[in-house]
Amino acid sequence: MIAAVAVIAGIALLFGLALGFAAVRFRTEGDPVVDRIDALLPQTQCGQCSFAGCRPYAEAIAAGTADINRCPPGGEATIRALADLLERDPKPLDPESGEIKPRTVAVIDEPLCIGCTLCIQACPVDAILGAGKQMHTVIASECTGCELCVAPCPVDCIAMVEEPVTLKTWKWPRPAEPLAAERR
């Protein structure tokens, strides 16, 4: 009886020590899952997922408090990539968070701009250039299309414009012909 207890206790101690050692020896810095999730998010920082940016959303996904289908700018590709990473089933985009739209950039109607700097403060990636009482402009190549600057503008001079397709950005369309099997 005592021998059995001692053996079990001994084993428990041994495993405890091993685990403790492993925890110290193989300690990981930060939370790599969050980083890997964050790497898959489009970094639009738009907040449509109801979090204050891509990183907080990534943390929420990692913590299990948010689903993987709340990112409209990432669209299906992002959901699929997240599903692959987390080994879950992909699911359609949550309609509450918005809908998938083509990528846009903000454009300021410059003659209308009164130089209030509100949009500059709203922009999460510092893609708007300007100063108080001076005209503002959007650095198109830095704009993520998050639309966060649209609402604060008191004179409604910011429009979201679809990025034009050029020879460089054009994509071959997915073959449109349905399989005979899929047609009635």
Binding site: L41, T144, K171, R174, E177
Partner: protein
């Protein structure tokens, strides 16, 4: 003709060449059209930058746009006239999109620009000097890919073999065959220049064995040139033999490493038309302003090859070949396999236009229902890149694109053999093109999102730093205020003390001896 041991590449198809109707005539010429449309992006790489302005008069051969990066090519006016606009025009491209073009209203004088010196003896020129002449002339690969030739000439040293690609394997296309038949000497001169520019010891000109006349002309020209470095090799006519990687395999038995280039294994490959353009650029100082185009198909009355100025509308080209027949239904640029359909014949001929097919309805593939894949594996049997097209297809069809890289999607040369072998009529090549461009776009998005993350984090750090700084400032102010308050108390205490002293003195005076004023 020397016939060394040849190797074979995997797969491929024996296709009906369909060139007989266009090879009967000599290379024709066509009059200068009233308007030339010259796209700024006729080559692989960055679009050229215009160096003329609307209203400016330009001469035939005058540079009108310069390369904006290392991988780029000049554009030259292909006849004299006036630049009327620089604006977006539809360009020949699978997308059907418009892109910036320089439009020239020709004056019919065809006055020559003489900025580039002709040169009878180039023996004294170094490699870089020859390369500069090629670059100045705006020469690009004329086999269809339109890669800037000068960039290719900058690729490495210690090359062991120059391969001139005359293996025109795609149905309908015969512009290289006619070039070899009529201008073999020019091609050889180009070969000699290329050999000198890169100090390559040997040149093989590969030509398919179904072009006996071209072979004969080339052998005669080689005998005349009496240059031991040059030789002709006749290769079997199997599509896609003319693919650079396939041709290298056939001639040498070696494979170009994936994501590598032929110079990595000591070979340099140029199209025979490119060699002729190099000879013209170096010897005559003539920039690339025209090219030979095969005009063929059931929809054109007089199929033939034409030496046509770049920027000429396709409609004028077809007109010069007898116009359309009643059967004309589809317009293709390039051959029947890798060519792409055009919606409109007002599009211009560009540097990469090797062939225009005006096809009848019967001539090309009818739209058949796509059946499910039956895993017959014929696609893999014919794939010259030794890929597994059906595996690629399963993933591309379910939009599961990430694993495609593992299946070497980017080694696909888009030759279309798998499409032709597929009994289920699955548009495999288009799936692969779709998947490739989609993956490139995602890669591009990833770069952008990394940039956005960086900027977001930088902004966050900045805001935090600003906030911290503000907090610190406030604290300091508060402390200063505190100190100030302390000072006040001290002063007040001082004043109080002084007042007390005064009061004390006053009290003392009242009781003590009388003051002076008393």
């Amino acid at each position: 003709m020397k016939q060394p041991g040849l190797w074979r590449f995997h797969g491929g198809l024996k296709l009906d060449a369909r060139t007989a109707r266009a090879t009967g005539d000599q290379i024709g010429t066509i009059p200068v059209p009233p308007q030339l449309v010259l796209p700024l992006s006729q080559h692989v790489g960055q679009p050229a930058e215009p160096i003329v302005v609307p209203g400016e008069r330009v001469l035939c051969g005058q540079p009108i746009a310069r390369p904006s990066g290392y991988v780029g090519a000049k554009v030259h006016a292909s006849s004299s006239g006036t630049v009327v606009e620089i604006a977006n025009h539809p360009v020949p491209h699978p997308s059907g999109l418009a892109a910036p073009c320089i439009v020239i209203e020709t004056d019919g004088l065809d006055e020559r620009w003489t900025g580039y010196e002709p040169l009878s003896d180039y023996a004294a020129l170094t490699g870089p000097e020859l390369r500069a002449r090629v670059r100045a002339a705006g020469v690009v690969g004329l086999g269809g890919a339109a890669f800037p030739t000068a960039v290719k000439l900058g690729a490495g040293s210690g090359l062991k073999l120059l391969i001139l690609n005359g293996a025109e394997c795609e149905p309908y296309i015969c512009c290289d065959e006619l070039l070899l038949r009529e201008r073999a000497a020019e091609v050889l001169a180009g070969a000699q220049i290329l050999l000198q520019a890169l100090a390559i010891p040997r040149c093989v000109i590969a030509i398919e064995n179904d072009k006996p006349l071209a072979l004969e002309a080339l052998e005669l020209a080689i005998a005349r040139a009496a240059d031991p470095r040059l030789e002709v090799v006749s290769v079997p006519a199997v599509y896609p033999e003319g693919g650079e990687r396939q041709l290298i395999k056939v001639l040498t038995g070696e494979e170009v490493p994936a994501r590598g280039l032929p110079p990595d294994i000591g070979y340099l490959c140029h199209n025979v038309g490119t060699a002729a353009a190099v000879a013209r650029a170096v010897l005559q100082g003539e920039p690339l302003i025209s090219r030979i185009v095969t005009v063929t198909g059931d929809g054109v009355a007089g199929p033939r090859n034409v030496d046509v100025r770049l920027g000429t509308p396709i409609s004028a080209l077809v007109q010069a070949c007898g116009g359309y027949t009643g059967e004309a239904a589809h317009l293709l640029m390039g051959g029947a396999m890798m060519g792409f359909p055009l919606a409109d014949d007002s599009l211009p001929v560009i540097k990469g236009t090797n062939c225009i097919v005006v096809a009848s309805r019967e001539e090309i593939r009818p739209r058949a229902p796509v059946m499910p894949c039956i895993r017959c594996g014929e696609c893999a049997e014919v794939c010259p890149a030794q890929l597994l097209p059906q595996q690629l297809y399963w993933h591309a069809r379910s939009d599961d694109l990430e694993p495609l890289d593992d299946y070497h999607l980017f080694d696909c040369i888009e030759c279309g053999c798998c499409d032709l072998a597929c009994p289920s009529q699955i548009p495999l090549t288009q799936y692969f093109r779709y998947a490739k461009t989609e993956l490139w776009a995602r890669q591009h998005d990833r770069v952008r999102s990394d940039l956005a993350r960086e900027r977001f984090e930088a902004r966050r750090d900045r805001l935090e730093a600003e906030q911290a700084a503000r907090k610190q400032r406030l604290e300091e102010k508060a402390r200063a205020a505190d100190e100030a308050r302390g000072d006040e108390q001290a002063r007040k205490a001082m004043i109080d003390a002084a007042l007390e002293r005064v009061q004390a003195r006053r009290d003392a005076g009242a009781s003590g001896p009388p003051g002076k004023d008393e």
